[in-house]
Each structure stands twice: as structure tokens, then as C-alpha cells.
């Protein structure tokens, strides 16, 4: 039994494997446990409704997170998106299903489109959100966001409790009217729920 890493494979591989796990505990698992135990919902925040949670699932499923952050940094240039994000903003982000037994990753890593932390306060109109989702270019010239027509139904006429998306002629289908389906309604409910809870001295939606 030699203690030479170059000759004793069990020593070399054992130290590599368990050493890495120890390091992973220091900068991964340990801090994760700590923040999990020390994060509380912000005072005044409310738990998401069933519909909003359904909307979060659509948000994750459609991959919105690849172009939109929900993470306002404590930098001057991020001021347009709201107050700096706090850990408590994410306390209600919880696992959503058996295939997603983790909290959903919504902080994002790229801002090809705007930050959405406070979009419910910034664009509070559901009509605008539906128009934008059906085809973003119908309301924002120069947008490169994908259109999401599969979150809508095209019907001959709207039902009693359905609202028609008032599309400009150029984007409207040749016949029939466009109404959001259940998934589209859930997603918009989720987006409208993205309102930062005020923290005294740091701002937020009213």
C-alpha cells in the first residue's frame, strides 16, 4: 500500500471523488441549505394562486426563461425594472410537479427581452399581454420574441365568458376571432402577478 497518488489508484480516485464532494458541500449544498432555511416570503406578499402556478408551468415549459430575467440587480441601469431583487421575492417559487421536484429557475441568465420581475405593474393590461403573446410585433415594433399562437383558439365567435383579442387586421386570422385558451389565460395571470412587493426604502410596485 503506497501513498503515492501516481501509483495507488484507490488513493488518487478516492481523494478526487470525496474531495470534490467536500468542496461541493462548501460552495453548493451548504449555502443552499442555509439560504433555504433563512428565506421568508416578504411581508405583504401573497402566495401564488392555482392559476398563477399553472401559468408558471407554462412559463417554464415554453422556455421564457431563456430570454427573460426575473432578477433586478442593485445597479443603476437596472432601476428601470424595479427595486433590487431580494431573496424573499423567490420564497414562493416552489417545486411544481413530479418532473420538476425543484423550485423553478426563473432568475434567468440572459436579457434578450426585458426583465419581468415587475411586468405586472408595468404592463397591467391583460389585453396588451394577449396581443403581445399572440404576436409581439402587433404591439412592439422591432421585437424578435416568438409568437405563441398555440396558446390561443381561433373560433367563429367568442363564447359567453370569453374575450376576443383585438388584433390589428394585419395580424388577425382571415376568418373567426382569436380567444386565449386555458394555457394562455394561466400564463397571462402569472405575468400579471409579477409585481414586486414594496420594501421600505427600496421601492417596488404599489
Amino acid at each position: 500500500m503506497t501513498l503515492d497518488f501516481g501509483k495507488n489508484h484507490w488513493l488518487l480516485f478516492g481523494v478526487s471523488f470525496f474531495g470534490f464532494i467536500a468542496l461541493a458541500y462548501v460552495v453548493g449544498i451548504g449555502p443552499a441549505i442555509w439560504v433555504q432555511n433563512h428565506t421568508q416570503p416578504l411581508p405583504g406578499s401573497v402566495a401564488p394562486t392555482a392559476l398563477e402556478t399553472e401559468g408558471l408551468k407554462i412559463y417554464i415549459s415554453e422556455g421564457c426563461v431563456y430570454c427573460h430575467t426575473q432578477q433586478v440587480r442593485p445597479l443603476k441601469m437596472d432601476g428601470v425594472w424595479g427595486r433590487p431583487s431580494a431573496p424573499g421575492d423567490y420564497a414562493y417559487v416552489r417545486p411544481v410537479g413530479v418532473w420538476q421536484p425543484y423550485a423553478s429557475a426563473i432568475l434567468g441568465s440572459e436579457r434578450t427581452g426585458p426583465d419581468l420581475s415587475n411586468v405586472g405593474a408595468r404592463q397591467a393590461s391583460d389585453v396588451w399581454q394577449y396581443l403581445h403573446l399572440y404576436n409581439p410585433r402587433s404591439v412592439v415594433e422591432g421585437s424578435i420574441m416568438p409568437a405563441f399562437p398555440w396558446l390561443f383558439d381561433i373560433k367563429a365567435a367568442a363564447g359567453p365568458n370569453e374575450s376576443v383579442v383585438p388584433l390589428p387586421a394585419h395580424y388577425a386570422p382571415a376568418t373567426g376571432v382569436v380567444v386565449p385558451d386555458a394555457r394562455g389565460r394561466a400564463l397571462v395571470a402569472y405575468l400579471l402577478s409579477r409585481r414586486q412587493v414594496p420594501i421600505q426604502g427600496y421601492g417596488g410596485a404599489r
Partner: protein, 480 residues
Amino acid sequence: MIDVISTTTVARPLAVPKTRVEPVADSDSRWVRLVFSYVGWATAWLLFGTLVGEYLGIKFVAPDIDHVSWLSFGKLRPVHTNTLFWGWSSLAMLGMALYVVPKTSRRQLFSFPLAYVSLVLINVSVGVGDVLLMNGINNGGQEYREYIWPVQAVFSIGVTLIAYNLIRTIAARGIDEIYISNWYIIGGLLWTIALLVIAYLPWYQQNGISETVIQGFYMHMGVGMWFTPIVLGLTYYTLPRLLNKPIYSYSLGVLAFWTQMVFYSMIGAHHFIFAPIPWWLQTVAIIFSVGMVVTLAAGTGNFLLTMRGSEHAIGRSYSLPFILAGVLAYFLFSFQGTVEAFRSLQALWHFTNYTVAHSHLTMYGFVGFLIWGTVYGLVPRMTGHEPSAVWVGVHFWFALVGYLLYSGALMIGGTMQGRNWISGSPFVDSVTDMLPYWLWRAVGGTLMFLSHLVFAYNVWSMRPRESAAIRAGVAASGAA
């Protein structure tokens, strides 16, 4: 007999004459077929994954090109990244490891059937995972963790079986020393197995912030503790083998190994600078991102000093230029990662397309090129069939120019994006101003994709064929 050469009739060859490989010594056809199966499947995933990438690049300049759910950007982006991670890069480097580990251990691979089981499991996980992603069924996670846990579990079993297979091979080695390549290869396998388990256990990822801490850790280690060590390990074999001289310093390789394990492990949180995760964790990540320069300098210096004095051999080889380009990219673009971790520069570049450029410079310019150098360097030595030097050259230049164009455009554009945001102009300006850069990115991406078609052709021309034909070919080229 001397020809009189007239200045008017000099025939200029398209490529400088390249050295041919020596006659095949590794005649175990079972082994050759196994390694080639990995390379072949990897190449198929490369073509698929980069075709998807090409299409995604087009969507930036033509967002209404289709209105089909499973072709939408949000569904296809993880298909692109995961296919190229787990399908192409992983299978290609594992296939070459299945050659290098037995070779440097002077022992036959422990189990051939087991290695095929791993190949099937990894292929199944990538195939099923991609179909699920296109249907919007994902893990809810971010980059490189999008396959749902049953899919990634299948992948992990495949990787674990390869680790077992190779460790048994090394344990039964025919020499006293564990060659340095095997430190890196087994290190990468063991770290990644641990990493996948850590990333997919749910108990400490139950709210948005604890999940983010793990995501930062995972996202970096998925690259830095998997692709980096294993392709470096392959290079520690391929480079000395192709140059026919020993590695410059064994001890530098050992130093780089341990610093890789300690420093790289600490830097994951630099993906979430300014996020509401603990500030000390971000600072630790930045400090060790600087420490990483030690690893980079030791590794790159070792390779470059090994190459010193062999410039002619590199110019005469069709595989060594890939390795030279890959080694330089390793240093330059990992160092770029160090610089990007600084808070002052994160403020400018975070969330911009600069990050996309960085990930392509490293995964493509570093990992991809070292894999290609190893494949071109070693596969002909197994099968006895060489690709055409001209087509390898076309692959090299299309890939090199393509990725530099791609990344150059996104680095300039990304910097502009950041400056746009700082200046406080309307957000949509940062989108419309990017259009020319996205167009150049698509042009670079097209060159990259074309180079992969050439690579696939070259792989086909290196395929193992009947051994009698190989011997006849060797005899013929020996007589010429």
C-alpha cells in the same frame, strides 16, 4: 534522376503535403469498432445539434419564420445545448477515452459489452430527452439541467458504467504508474457523477434562491469538471503521441490537476454575480476565478512547451493544428472567463450576448477543437484509413473562421447591448441594434455547420473496413 523544373509549370498543391500515419499497430478490431461507434454517434448528434443551432440563429433575424410550438425558440434552445453537451461532446470524448485509457494502462478494456451498454444508455437519454424538451417537458431548471430527472438518471448510469469500466482497466494496468491522462479522465468522470447526483437531489432546492445556488454551482461544473478535464486528459496522450516525444513536464500536469479540482469547484457562483444569493459566495467565486489562472497557465504552458521546436511537425500534420488551436483557445477563453467574473465587467456583460460568445469560444474553440484533433490524430491509427488532408483542412478553416466570426460578432454586439442598457435608452434599442451582429452570427454559424458536414464525411472516410484490405493498403503505401 532530377527533373528540371520550369518556373511556368510548377504545380502548386492545394494543401502542403501532410505526414501520413504509420502502419496500423492496434489491430484489435473489436476495440476499433467500439471506439468508432462512439465517434460515429457523436458525429450524428453534432450534425443534429448544430442544425438546430443554425435554425435558432436564423430566428433572431426572422422571428416569424415558423409558428410551430415544438420549433419555437424556447423549446429548441435546450435541445441545441443539451444535444451538443451530452450527445456530441460527451460521446466523442468518452469514445476517445475508451482508446486512451487501455492504451496508457497497457491493458485491454475491462469490458466491451459494458461499454456498448453505456453507449446505448447515453444515446437513449439524449434522444428521449430531446423529444421531451421539444414537447415542453423539462426539468424547470436552467442551462444544461433541462432533461427531467429520469432522463438524466439514464445518462448518469451510462457515465457511471464507463467510469467503472475504465477504473477496472486502470486497476489492472500493466505498468506501475497511472499515466497523467488517466488522472484527468477518471477525475472528470467521478466529479461529474457526484455533480449529477448533487444537482438532481431535490431537498435543498425547494425555493427560488436555494435552487439558484445549486444552479450556479452545477452550470459551471457541468463544463469545468466534465469537458475540461477529460479533453485535457486526452490531449496529454494525443499530443506527445503525435509529436513522438514526452510531455514537457509531468509535475506541471499534476499541479494543474489538483488546482483544477480545488479552484474550479469554487467558482460556480460567478454566473450569478449581483443576484440575491449570498454576497460572500459571489466573492469566493470571483477570487477563485482568478486562481484558475494558475491551472490555465500550468496546463497551457505544459502543452506549448511540449510543442516548442516541433513547429514543422505541426505544419506537416492535419491533426496537430486542431490541437494547437484548441490549446490556445483553452488559455485565451478560459482567461476571458476569469475577466468576465469581475464585478465591474459583469455589470457591463451579464445578461448580454457576450456570454453566448464566451460559451461558444470555450465549448467549441477549446473543447471541440481538442476533440477533433484527437479524433483525426488517433482514429486513422486505429482503422488504418486516413481522411483526405484537403478535406480536413476545409473542416479546420471553416470551423475556425466560423466560430471566430460568430463569437466576434456577439462580443462586439454584447458589449453594445450592455452599453445601451447603461445609457438608459429604451430597451428595444438593445434589440434592434443587435440585428447586424445577429446576422453575422448566423453567417459564422453557417460556416461552422458546413465544417461539420465535412467532418462527418471525414469520419466516414476513416471508418474501419475489412482488415485484409487494411493490410493490403499498408503494404501498398509501404512499397510506394
